[in-house]
Every structure is written in C-alpha cells, then in structure tokens.
C-alpha cells in the first residue's frame, strides 16, 4: 500500500485487550484511509474503541491483527525504538490533560522534542518561541504550567506537538477539559495550523461542536466503524 507524507491507512485491524484466555475484543475489522491535510474527528461513545484506535495510530500499542501505514511506512512492524524515532520525526501529540512537564517553563516544554532531536540550543529557542507566539503566548514563555490557565496550557501543548513540523498530529480529547469559549479558540487554532502547513489532524472527541467543524467524522460503535460522514464542501 503506497502512502505519501501525511497519509494514513488502517488495514483490516482487529484488536483486543487482556492476556491469555480472557480477552476483551475492542476493535473489529477496521479499514480507514486518511489523506494528507485532512482534519478528521474520531467520534463515539466511551468504550467504543476510539482511544484505542488513536493509540494504534500513534504506535503506542501494536495491533493484534492487520497493518497500519503512516507516511507509507508500516509502523505496526516497528520495534519500540523505531517507533520512538518515528514519532520524533513525523508525529505530534495533544492530550486531554495537556501532559506538560511541571518542572519546565512553557518555552522549555516546547523545546523538549527538539532537544531529543539534537537541535542546537539557539535554533530550538528561536523555533519554540516562534511557534508559541503563533499560539498567542508571547508573554508567557517563562511561565510554568501551574502558572497558566487550562487553555494556555493546551496552547503550549499544541505548540509542542507542532514544533518539529510533524506530518500528522494526533489529539486525544484536546478540548475535553476546557470551557466552550476556550474550546472554540483551541479548535480554531488547530484548524488554522491544519490549513497553514497542510498537516493531517486526527482528533478523538465526543463533542459535537468539534465533529461538526471537521472535514470528516468517523463514528465508532462497539469497536466497529459505523458511519463516515464527509462534511459538504
């Protein structure tokens, strides 16, 4: 299966949790193709398997059956270290609870992926400050996470996800902890970044507002894809 940068394909994936005899099947026969630059929402009630699917896409879990291709690479066959390197190079993550390192300032948190990538101090400072400014945090570079509001923390988190120019950004309930006004701001930011750099966004959400503003919504129910709705252009 040939894929370009930012493209993502899931082929015949079945997955279950648990070990040994007691297995809880979670995903059944998933087939998805997401094109470059798409802004896709993964929706479904809790327990529908949407978070599991996201983890599979991120390479945090390996599928029991089936193949997952990201950027034409079969990440379901990568080992742990290859996955780490692949994430560093091609993927950005946004979490519901932000997951910023509490000991580091906003700037340092955004710098961290570049530190692991071996970027020089000067270059990464410039890059991190630039992207934080885009997020509207120019006055907050030296604040620690506990000195920032939820919305601000999520902006730092988005900046961190985008700082190494990934081709795909995966977000797990990015607006779940935010009020509706902030939710809209964050959503607008993500859409803006999606458009500007043509980065593929895959967002797990159960909020209707998020789903409505996506290019496409994939509904999951009891581990199966039940509906694919493409937003009319």
């Amino acid at each position: 299966m040939a894929n370009g940068m930012g493209e993502l394909t899931v082929e015949n994936v079945n997955h279950s949790y648990g070990t040994g005899k007691i297995k809880v099947p979670v995903l059944f026969d998933i087939n998805i193709h997401i094109a470059k630059g798409e802004f896709v929402a993964l929706c479904g009630s809790s327990g529908s398997g949407k978070s599991t699917l996201l983890n599979l896409l991120a390479g945090l879990t390996k599928p029991e059956e089936g193949k997952i291709f990201v950027n034409s690479e079969e990440i379901s066959r990568f080992n742990e270290n290859e996955l780490c390197l692949f994430r560093r190079k091609c993927m950005g993550f946004i979490f519901q609870s932000y997951n910023l390192l509490p000991g580091l300032t906003a700037l340092e948190n955004v710098e961290l992926p570049l530190i692991f990538a071996g970027e020089s101090k000067k270059k990464r400072r410039i890059r991190a400050a630039e992207i934080l400014e885009k997020m509207g945090l120019e006055g907050r570079l030296d604040h620690r996470p506990n000195e920032l509001s939820g919305g601000q923390q999520q902006r730092v988190s988005i900046a961190r996800a985008l700082v190494n120019n990934p081709s795909i950004v995966l977000a797990d309930e990015p607006t779940g902890n935010l009020d509706s006004k902030t939710e809209q701001e964050i959503l607008d930011l993500m859409r803006q970044m999606n458009r500007e750099s043509n980065t593929t966004f895959i967002i797990v959400t159960h909020e209707q507002e998020v789903a409505e503003q996506s290019d496409r919504v994939i509904y999951l129910q009891d581990g199966r894809v039940v509906q694919r709705r493409t937003k009319p252009a």
Binding site: L60, T61, C84, R87, R88, N99, G103, A117, G118
Partner: protein, 483 residues
Amino acid sequence: MKFIDSFRIVWRNLWRMKLRTALTSVGVMIGTAAIVAMIALSLGLKANAVKSLESWGNLTELDVEPAFYIPEEDRVIPDDERKKLNMAAVQELKAVKGVAAVMPIKRIRGESKLKVGRREGYIELVGVDVRESAAYRKDEIEKGTYLTGAPQEVVVSYYVPREMRDVEKEKREARMRNANKSGGGGGEVYFSRRGGGGGGEEGPAPFDMVGKPATITLTREYRIDDELKLEKKDVRVRVVGQLQKSENFRYGSAVYAPLSLVKEMNDWLNRSRGEEFGDTSSRRSRDKNQDEFVFDEITVKVESREMVESVVSDLKKLGYEVWSPARELEQINKFFFVIQMILGGIAAISLLVASIGIVNTMIMSILERTKEIGIMKVIGATVYNIRWLFLMESGFIGLIGGMTGLGLAWGAVELVNYFGKAGGLMDSLGFGGGGEEMTTLAVIPTWLALFAIGFAFIIGLLAGIFPAIRASRLSALQAIRSE
C-alpha cells in the same frame, strides 16, 4: 540528544530532589572517604618508612659481600669455598637479571692526606670503576663533572672541602692568640678567643676546590731494627668535581678516584712493606693478590626498586651476602599489603551498601516520574535517550558522593597530619627514623584523588544500569495514563 542537554536535564532532576540526592550520595561519600583516607594513610606511612630506610642509603644499591654462613644449612662456609670479590665476581654479578651496573670499590684506609693550595685534610680514598659508576653518580654531582676516565682525576664528597683546614694559618692564629693572652687583661682574652678561635671550633669555611690541582700524600711506615720509619709519596691529581650533600654518612670524607690509580697506590703501600720485611709468606700472598685483585666492596645497582627483591634472592643463591635497606622493604611491603587488603574490604562493603542505596533511590524516582518518562517517550525520546538520562543521573549521584567523600578524606588527612605532627605519632609508631625528615602521616596523590572520583562515578553508573533499563522499558501508553 546532545550531551550538554542531557547534562542539563540530569542536573535539573537531581536538583529537584536535592535532599534525596544528598542523602543517597552520603553512602558513596562515606565509602569513598574511607577508601581514600585509608589508602592515603597507608601510602603516607609507607613513604615515611621508605624514607627512613633511604636515609641509610639508596634503596636500589646493594652492597655485596661474600657469604660466611648459610642459615638454612646452619653451616659456616670455609675460606676456600667462600666467594672472593674479584673480577670474576664482577662478571658473575653483571650477569644477574635486573642488575644495571656493578661498581667495585677499593679503599685505601691508610694514612692519606689531600692537599689543595694551603688547605689539607685526611681522607679516605675510594677507587671506583669509572665506566660502571658514571651513569649513576653523575646525577649526584653538585659542582664540576664526574670522573671522565682520565687517569689523574678525583671527585670529592660534599664534606671534604668543609673539613680541610689551612694548617699554616691556624698555627699563625694560635700564636697570635697566645701573644694576646700573655699581654692583655681577662676581658680581652675572652673577646679574642671568641673572634679568633671561632674558625677552629665551628669548622673551617667551605671553599671551592673544583678544577684545582691537588696532591695526595700517602704514608707508609716500616721498622728497621725496631726503629719506626715513615716514607711519604706524593701523587699529583686534579679535583674535577664535588658531590651533593648526601644523607648517607658512610662516605663522609671520601675522595673518589679511578680504580687504576688506587690500585697503583695500593700496590705501592703493600709492595714496599713486604719487600722491606723480606717475609716470604707475605710475598706469596702478595703475588696471589696481584693475580687476583680483590676489591673491598662491590656495589650492585639494580634497575628499579621493584627488581630489588628478586636480585637479592638471586645473589644469595650465588653465595653472596647482601646488605641493603631494601631487605627491610620486603617486610614493609608485606605489612602494607595486608593493611590495604583489610581497608579495601571495609571500603568495598560500604560501597556495595551505598550502591544498593542508589539503586533504591533510582527506582523510587522512576516510580515518581513514570508519567514524565511516558510523555518524553511520546514526544520523541528514544529508548536510549531514557536509558542514558537515568544512567547519567545515578552516575552523578556517585560522582557527587565521590567528590564530597574526597573532600571529607582530605579534611581527615589534614587533621591526622596536624595532630600526628604535634603528638609525635610517627615516632611512637616506630617510623620516625627520618627524624627531621618526618613531615606527613598521610598523603593523597593525584592518582588517588582521580581514582576515587572515577571509581565513585562508575559505582553510580553500575547502580544505575538496572533502574535505567527498567525506565526505558516502561510502556509509554501506561506511563502517560498513570497519575
């Protein structure tokens, strides 16, 4: 990831849990301090012991004599079996492994006087093999050069120019004093005695005799019809050099001359005596001596201090008796080896306990930082990055312990040295042979300091291996979910 960045992250983590870092490194600190202080003490004691031995002579120089007695067989060696210090012996000694040079010596202990200008003094003439001894004696030259091999050269020891007196001048001064004494009052006598006699009481002022011509006067005595006769012979020589001050007082007023010159003088002294007496038995022995010139001493120079013990045992097998402070060294080495083993054992145990402490601390901080590790893995840290960070962290705990331990040991060493000096501990331990030379009880050489720090760092690294692997194996997904 760049090294400097990993260093910053590690440092930040250690600083964040500074109390725990400090407490954990205390274990390493105590272990390191124990090792360093103990090794420093045993090194210092050993150095003092060796120094006090060295004041008896150079440790790599052995004086060889024929053995008279074999303790193993409880047997006195009869005269004809006994080794002789002749040329054959010199060749035999040269062949022993580890021997750098064989320096035979012939002494003239009879009446020999050295005269330079108007000064003169009694000396001990020491004939040396110029070629064999040059390499080792050159360094001991203070002024001028060592014997070059030219026939009429001599080198004097440090004390010779300081003990030679201007006999004529002293006589003149003595006469003047006597004159003053008879003419002046009591007080004046006192003053003049002080002023004039000072030179005589405190020893003559040293003078430079290097490069000056000198005369050695030999005196032999013989009887004719119960009448004691003295005969003198002057030998013209040139003083080419003077040796440094030496701790070794065995050669106090020695004048070193080429062996051939001393042999010639020796022949003159013996021959005339024998001829004058017309004694056939002594003539026979003299003839024998001429066939087989026997030295008074043979000094063997050993290549290095480490070789001394093996050379000593080889020489004993050949039938020589060896006198050297190095024989004491053997005992000292054994003694300190035992001490070092015991102290090493104590330190090893304390470091083992300390390293378990590090492992414990690291596992605890991994538990605490599980979520952080997960986040780092998701945003681009590789398995190796994580492993490296935790390895460095525990290595640094070891390093901190090592450095503070070194500081502690240094303080302890200073204290011991201070009180040791004040209390004369060295003397009571029996290592005070050097007397005024005794300075420090314990020393921390650079290699020991570096070794201690390096060792503590390695202990930390080793203790970090297991926790680091554990950290890197954490599932990113579960790590993120943990709170």
